[in-house]
């Protein structure tokens, strides 16, 4: 078999395919047997879908109006009337070779199964055996027909009697092109003889598969032709036969009247000459251009009616005038100038003309001319342009991208640590400083006295001496010792004379510390003072150590409020407040003197703040390191004072010893302290000058302030 072309895309497909392998369109259309009423129903649908005839359609010919009215009234058509109509197409014998001919047969083909294959026969027998009980219950004339898809058989189709109306009315499927075997000219416009024969023929006709889809213009045309070809009596007879199909125009019908504007159109002479034959279609339809004209030759062979030439000749001058009036002179001049410059080709190329005049050869638009080639331009797959696959960069962007990449690569590389501009440590100079200071301290301890004792009585020492002198004998003194081991020597020198004076008076010390090692330092401090000054004070008899006070500021506050509850026991585990010397002591206010010994400025400030209100200012004395004195001086010099006195550093201790006429540890350290401090000051001055000169001589520019090295 030949390859079959797809009706949609026009591509050749193997004959056995039912679906186009290119566009998936169906190659062999499925035809469903139309029922008896389907034709009329479809026709009714067509009629209903048409827009109603409106009075503002003056160009519609009279015969077309009549047909439309007939269709509007054709809702009452029945199948019998349709069956009596003249067949549109010439009757053709049923193609028995077509296997689809039997596919739509209503007759059961079970008895015609001489050529039925074995598998189908066995299947039918099985189905018949299975349905036999049911068939017995039914009437004999109610044989269930075998489905058409199961009843398909070429042999059966061949044996279908052509007289069977149902078989005759089956739609023969088309094989290739829909109108391939149809002579449209002869079918639509038959000759008078053929029309007469068909009109008188009573034989059942084969319904064209396009009958229900054909435009009503074509379907109704034969009747009009018949009327045209016959005389008026005959036409009246025919119209009486068809009845509703061609009703006479009623008098006074507005549709049959020609509007005034139409009367003024060219060719009115023709219209007037034809008005007597209103029911007869114009002659030009006999030579109408067939619907499918493929070439210019076919178009040129068509003879147009003379009146059309006459109309064209009469309209042509007027059209030229209108076109000239519509074209602006400026546009015309521009067009002329462009043509002279060659920008606009005077004549379009032949290829373009051929392309525009090409006739569509495939698809549903087959046969039409000037079809826009939408598919090649729109639907044709194209390769992506090169610009999409490659990034277009300017030189500047490329340079910036390369710079960015270099920066990223450099970030990943380990950078060498730049040499520090910090001055290298001079170990020799450090050792020299240590040796000089150590020598000064040793000389001050061994070869004393180098300097005279401080004779000036400071205000703080005086107030402290007054507070101690006012203590009664065997008074209970509360000591807060918050010192570290590094400052022990200084604090010992500072408090030696103070504690010595109180020991002389037989004071009993209650010691507490907010430092973890403060309790041990306090015990050692009291022992050293006792040892240095020749006292034989023992821990149990001379002081009571309450140990470590946790909690920081909150602990100080709590302790200041309620001593027995916070620290009920000593560091040895004994009940602290059961001692007979502490029976009258229940708060800090009960102590005649409270002495805070610390080298920490923060701790000193916290004690002042937390003890305020719990201890009278006249009973609060601070013995601190020299570095803490500036912090306590505002409290001491305030009016009123927050504290009674401040003893600061070795100097105040030495003064206290001098004033009390009991030289002690402070005076022993005084010479060493003064000599070491003097040497340290000298080293600072000397070293600063040397290094400053070295820096100038080497030429190394010292870094400016604010720019760290």
């Amino acid at each position: 078999m030949e390859a079959q072309r797809c009706p949609m895309c026009g591509q050749a497909n193997p004959p056995h395919l039912e679906v186009c392998q290119y566009c998936q369109a169906r190659l062999k259309p499925l035809w469903v047997e139309p029922s008896e009423g389907s034709g009329s129903a479809v026709e009714d649908g067509i009629a209903r879908s048409k827009a109603p005839l409106e009075p503002d359609e003056p160009l519609v010919p009279e015969w077309l109006r009549t047909d439309r009215m007939q269709i509007d009234e054709g809702a009452s058509f029945n199948a019998e009337e349709l069956g009596q109509e003249e067949p549109l197409f010439p009757e053709e014998p049923l193609d028995t070779d077509d296997f689809l001919g039997g596919m739509f047969s209503d007759e059961p083909l079970g008895d015609q199964g001489e050529d039925v294959p074995e598998w189908l026969r066995s299947l039918r027998e099985d189905s018949a055996a299975a349905e036999r009980p049911l068939q017995s219950a039914k009437s004999a004339d109610q044989d269930l027909p075998i489905p058409f898809w199961l009843d398909f058989d070429e042999g059966a189709a061949e044996e279908v009697p052509p007289q069977s109306p149902s078989a005759i009315e089956k739609v023969p499927p088309f094989k290739e092109q829909p109108f391939e075997d149809i002579d449209i000219d002869s079918a639509i416009f038959p000759s008078e003889q053929e029309a007469g024969e068909k009109l008188t023929s009573e034989e059942p006709r084969a319904v064209s598969p396009f009958e229900t889809f054909e435009p009503f213009l074509f379907t109704e045309q034969p009747s009009q032709l018949v009327e045209d070809s016959t005389s008026e009596p005959e036409a009246a007879e025919v119209s009486s036969k068809e009845g509703k199909t061609s009703p006479p125009a009623a008098e006074g019908d507005w549709m049959s009247e020609i509007p005034p504007w139409l009367e003024t159109l060219p060719g009115e002479e023709w219209m007037e000459s034809e008005t007597a034959e209103k029911e007869i279609p114009p002659e030009f339809l006999q030579g109408a251009v067939p619907p499918f004209v493929e070439t210019d030759e076919e178009l040129s062979e068509i003879e147009f009616p003379a009146w059309l030439d006459q109309v064209e000749r009469s309209i042509e001058p007027e059209l030229d005038t209108v076109i000239e009036s519509l074209t602006p002179p400026a546009v015309e001049r521009l067009t002329t100038m462009e043509e002279e410059k060659g920008e606009v080709p005077k004549e379009r190329p032949e290829a373009l003309l051929e392309e525009e005049d090409a006739v569509e050869m495939v698809g549903p638009l087959h046969g039409l001319r000037g079809v826009l080639p939408a598919e090649p331009l729109v639907a044709e797959p194209k390769k992506p342009s090169k610009a999409l696959s490659e990034l277009l960069l300017t030189d500047k962007q490329r340079a910036q991208a390369e710079l960015f990449l270099r920066m990223i690569e450099e970030e990943g590389k380990p950078q060498p640590i730049p040499p520090s501009r910090r001055a290298k440590p001079h170990l020799l100079w450090r050792v020299l400083i240590f040796l000089v200071l150590f020598a000064a301290a040793a000389v001050g301890l061994v070869l004393r006295p180098f300097s005279s004792a401080p004779q000036e009585l400071s205000v703080g020492v005086f107030d402290a001496m007054q507070a101690v002198n006012q203590l009664p004998a065997e008074a209970v003194v509360f000591l807060v010792v918050d010192i570290e081991g590094s400052d022990f020597a200084e604090m010992l020198a500072t408090t030696n004379a103070l504690l010595d004076q109180m020991m002389i008076k037989g004071a009993f010390f209650v010691v507490v510390s907010a430092n973890q090692t403060g309790a041990l330092q306090a015990d050692r401090l009291l022992r050293e003072v006792s040892r240095l000054n020749g006292h034989k004070v023992q821990p149990s008899s001379g002081w009571l150590n309450l140990g470590y006070l946790p909690g920081g500021v909150a602990g100080m506050q709590a302790f200041a409020q309620s001593l027995p509850q916070i620290l009920p026991n000593t560091v040895d585990g004994e009940a602290a407040w059961q001692d007979k010397r502490l029976q009258n002591i229940r708060s800090l206010a009960d102590f005649p003197l409270v002495i805070v010994i610390t080298e920490d400025s923060t701790r000193a400030r916290q004690w002042i703040e937390q003890l305020k209100g719990q201890v009278s200012e006249a009973r609060l004395v601070f013995a601190v390191s020299a570095q803490v004195e500036p912090v306590l001086r505002p409290y001491y010099e305030a009016n009123p004072r927050h504290i009674q006195s401040v003893l600061a550093g070795i100097r105040d201790g030495a003064i206290y010893e001098t004033q009390s006429a009991r030289p002690g540890w402070a005076m022993q350290l005084w010479d060493a302290y003064t000599l070491t401090a003097l040497v340290a000051a000298g080293l600072i001055i000397l070293g600063a000058l040397v290094y400053f000169l070295i820096g100038l001589l080497v030429g190394r520019k010292p870094p400016v302030e604010g720019k760290t090295s």
Binding site: G485, S486, Q557, D572, R633, P703
Partner: protein, 212 residues
Amino acid sequence: MMQSFLRSPFSTLITFITGMVVLLGYFIDVDPLNVLRSRFLQWTVLLAAVALMLGVFNLMRVHWKRLKESSIKAIYSFAFFGGFLLALAVGGLLGVQHSLTRAVIDFVIIPIETSLFVVILVSLVYALTRLLQSRLSAFSFVFLVTVVFSIIGSIPLLGIEIPFLQGGDGILSLMTRVLGTAGVRGLLIGVALGSVLTGIRVLLGLDRPYGE
């Protein structure tokens, strides 16, 4: 879990209530309020002691981990455990008044801390000598001159007292009492204002150091 609990409004509410009780008890002398305030402060001391113990256990855990890793730093951890056990045994069993405990204080703790203090002294002198070499500026010069004058003004120059430099009415005394005291007063005022603002923020829950 614990962090989310501490950050919850519940913890902020507890902080607000306890803080307000302690603060109001400081200004208002009412017995129930004072009792409640004292109770809260006692709990604070107790919890601080427990926190100190937890710190000790955490320190032991860190050093125990280092010992198991057997690295070079393990020797320091070993020394820590040795000193910790020794101090615990001596201070806990023998007591503070025992001669061995005093010997530990006299011959271990105080000499070590004192020697470190001497190192600080040498380092400070060394840094001052090179101050003008490493950073030459007006402030460096002023700082250097202030240090030198403070040292000289605190001691007699081998029994020689310079009239206008030393003494109660001398320049050095005025510098210390006037300039130094003024600077410290400013610092104390700033500390006080900062403490008040910090307390208010903690009471209102804006700062939650307990939840960090």
